[in-house]
């Protein structure tokens, strides 16, 4: 995963359990690696562009580097964007994290 992808995944994960967080990150990382390469290339491109946009906003003081809520708010606005690839990017990341967080919790508890 690229640094921005890791940051997005980190923001979306809700559990404070470090072991579980690592497992979720590993699942998302594996899933992204296993994507069809043309889709992965598109996601990588988006991650670079969106990461640069977020970095620029932080540099301009418009987004706090450690503010998880601010990043989540940004993701929320992208998810409702009229631009299809932007919406798909957030939905995909969110789906992977939400599925893994809940499945791994269940399996861990079993």
């Amino acid at each position: 995963m690229l640094w921005f992808e890791r940051e997005v995944v980190g923001a979306l994960i809700e559990t404070p359990d470090q072991h579980l967080r690592s497992s979720i990150e590993a699942f998302v990382d594996g899933s992204l690696r296993d994507m069809p390469e043309h889709l992965r290339a598109g996601v990588l491109g988006e991650s670079v562009l969106l990461g640069a946009y977020v970095a620029a906003r932080r540099a301009a003081g418009r987004l706090d580097r450690d503010d998880r809520e601010a990043l989540l708010h940004q993701l929320e606005s992208w998810e409702a964007s009229p631009i299809g690839v932007l919406r798909s990017y957030v939905r995909m990341m969110k789906s992977l994290v939400v599925f893994a967080e809940n499945e791994l919790t269940v399996e861990g508890a079993a």
């Binding site: 594996g30 809940n102 499945e103």
Partner: protein, 474 residues
Amino acid sequence: MAHLATEVLVIGSGAGGAVTAATLAEAGRTVTVVEEGPWIDADALEPFSLDEMVAKYRHHGLAAALGNPAVAYAEGRCVGGSTEINSGLYHRLPDDLVAEWQTRYGIDEFTPEALASYADRVEGRLSVAKVPGAPPASSAALERGATKLGWRNVEFARVFSYDDQQRGTKQTMSRTMLPRAIAAGATIVPDCRVQRLTRQGDRVTGARCRRTHPGGGVERLTISADHVIVCGGAVHSPALLQRSGIWRNIGNGLKMHPTIKIAARFPHPVDHGDVPMHRVTEFSPFIAIGGSASRKGHVAMALAETGAPYQDALAEWEHISTYYAAIRSEGSGRVVAAPGLRSPLVTYSLTDADLSRLARGLVNLGELLLAAGATELHPSVVGGRVVHRIDELGSWWDQVTRARANLMTVHLTSTVRMGENRERTGADSFGRVWGYRNLRVNDGSLIPDAPGVNPQAAIMAIATRNCDQFLADS
């Protein structure tokens, strides 16, 4: 480089490939089946779990047909193919569609009566059964809601067998047809990806493959064969043919059942270990309503779709089950094997009528679930209203748009259509690829259009029929 020689090479081991292998091996042919995915014990992983997704799904289930909107799709990539990961629902091809396709595509010996006899044979080789006793609560909800509204509904049979204690076992290909094929002398080669077919004039001579060994080593393997039957499914069969230089009417005309979902919260717990077997057929064949896998992860994903806070609902996830409305789409798509890419590009264009049908399906499904006693409905629509009462459902009509609907499918067909109408088909009435004497396709790619029902039964019946023709021809 290793080399194998066989009489019949079957590429793919799902519903089409496994039936083909078993039928031909039992008829005395020397059959080799190559499967790109691994051989995983059917009992080793919990159905619909994260582990199963990682081990058995192609791309971890993370593939999509590009378009506006994109449609996510899932396929199996293991010995047994998608039969290892689906719900096992079994539905014969509707007679009116058979008659319509026979005329439109000029398919020889394709009548409801003929297909029924092949379906009988398939059912005689598998266990096709309804649930003994009462259906699970998630399925009964569909029946209850439909009955209250006066809508037609049916409990579908499934490819399941049941023991004395009514425990069901899905009759996947790795449990049924593939063991039969092996018993009749067939060889199964897992972890073996066919890169391209080798050709000479109007004959295919075999295939070039890469086989991965358990330790991780990769070996080149060439296979020579008298006959090659491609059964990689509606995405990978056309992609392989294209990689091998065969393009005429191959890969275009992709059809699917785009699906929109609702997570429904009930005042009581519902089951989560199975997939509902009831289907509402009131709006068939254009809209089908049914239930989906609803483990906690699926429920959480479905709840998250609207973007509204869902932690309160998730805390009561045992009371929630997910349901869908699937449409027969008027749109179509393409599969293209782009040079240098391992995975084919898949595109799909939904029509405005499709979107309207999806909105109607969502509203119908909502009405049904409220009638069944659901108290809260979360649609798979970004910004979609979480509904509690029937008078709130109307808001969904305007919310199912290209920008907001979140769609998926597990049914893909029609990329190498069969029939004698050469303008519209990539293969003849029995799956022989036009222009090649010994190259056939025998999977869901041949089905001329989206059938409006789970296509597994149709794939197996048509595969059996085509095998009979192959045996008669050769």
